[in-house]
């Protein structure tokens, strides 16, 4: 084992352990925070693997944006802050079996396939720099890059349309209704009116202008 191997195994233990806590903790906010730990350990693994630009993008977008977005979602759905025991569904055992089977198949296959695979990390140091990634991103991969920007715009518009409640089919149905409703008439102003009494002596009373006195 080289030093890079030891570091990446340690970071992997942190990442997988934090991931296990994400899927097993009983507090919703803690799950989002353990997700930060897991993503941070993965960003550090990218640095160890000499992919420094990807590491920074991971920190900026995953930790900085996506986790914050998830925390916003937790707050906006008024999720229980603190312990809640109903976060796991009834098919936990089945899920555990499926996940263990997935892990067994993947790890067995990879261990048989790549048991002795080795590559010198030192020769790859310039491979993940911002300059190298930027050059290949804007030369070779510029068309998928542009397509992805269109997709991001579509996702943005879709998210806005979905989350705004004053547009869309329901709003169009509800909209004409308040206009048909008659507006309440404003109360007529109070004026001094002469009230005709039976004993020939009229009194001045305050009454509305359209009211019988």
């Amino acid at each position: 084992m080289t030093a890079a191997d030891i570091v990446i195994v340690a970071l992997g233990v942190v990442a997988v352990g934090a991931g296990v806590l994400v899927v097993s903790t009983r507090q919703l906010v803690h799950a989002a925070l353990w997700l930060v730990v897991s993503f941070g350990a993965l960003a550090a693994s990218y640095v160890v693997l000499a992919a420094e630009f990807v590491a920074w993008v991971q920190v900026l977008i995953y930790i900085g944006a996506i986790v914050v977005l998830l925390l916003f979602g937790i707050m906006l759905t008024r999720a229980p802050i603190g312990r809640s025991d109903d976060l796991d569904s009834g098919n936990r055992i089945v899920a555990l079996v499926v996940a263990a089977a997935t892990a067994a198949v993947l790890v067995t296959t990879l261990a048989r396939g790549f048991r002795d695979a080795y590559f010198p990390l030192k020769a790859r140091v310039g491979n993940g720099s911002t300059g190298a990634i930027g050059a290949s991103l804007f030369r070779t991969w510029v068309l998928p890059f542009e397509a992805l920007s269109v997709l991001l715009l579509a996702a943005l518009v879709g998210a806005i349309v979905l989350s705004r409640s004053d547009i869309g089919p329901e709003a169009a149905e509800e909209d004409p209704e308040p206009r048909e409703r008659p507006r309440p008439r404003p109360a007529a102003p109070l004026v001094r009116r002469r009230k005709r009494n039976t004993d020939d002596e009229d009194t001045i009373v305050l009454a509305r202008i359209d009211e019988d006195v």
Binding site: T2, D5, I8, V16, G19, V22, V23, L28, A32, S38, L42, S45, Y46, L49, A50, A51, V57, Y62, I66, L69, L70, G73, T77, R78, A79, D86, L87, D88, S89, G90, N91, A95, L96, V98, A99, T102, A103, L106, L110, A111, A117, Y118, F119, L121, N127, G128, I133, S136, L137, T140, W141, P144, F145, L148, L152, A155, A159, I160, L162, S163
Partner: protein, 109 residues
């Protein structure tokens, strides 16, 4: 760098994500587990890019694309979750059974 270590870490992280998607009830926790699976794939992409010393940096560029896709996915997913919460007052995926054939009474509870 032995290839086996990061690859096995990615496989384990993916399995943890599979467990989370299947076992969690809260829709936001399901989204978080999907993020774990995407990160496992990203680790694989970076490792194999470095192993083959790809001149076009395809693995790392695809990792960046996956990160952008994950951001779009989380944005849309949270919009959907908020819409469901506004209409049903719950984000419990076990109780959203309107699409099921025999579970009509479960949807109305």
């Amino acid at each position: 760098m032995h290839l086996i270590y990061p690859v096995v870490i990615a496989a384990l992280l993916f399995s943890v994500g599979v467990y989370g998607v299947l076992a969690r009830r809260n829709a936001i926790l399901v989204l978080m587990s999907v993020e774990l699976m995407l990160n496992a794939v990203n680790l694989n992409l970076v490792v194999f890019d470095m192993r083959w010393a790809d001149r076009l940096h395809g693995g790392q560029v695809l990792t960046l694309f996956v990160i952008v896709l994950a951001a779009a996915e989380v944005g849309l997913g949270l919009a959907l979750v908020l819409l469901i919460y506004r209409n049903r007052r719950t984000v419990d995926v076990d109780r959203l059974r309107t699409l099921g054939e025999h579970e009509q009474e479960g949807a109305r509870q």
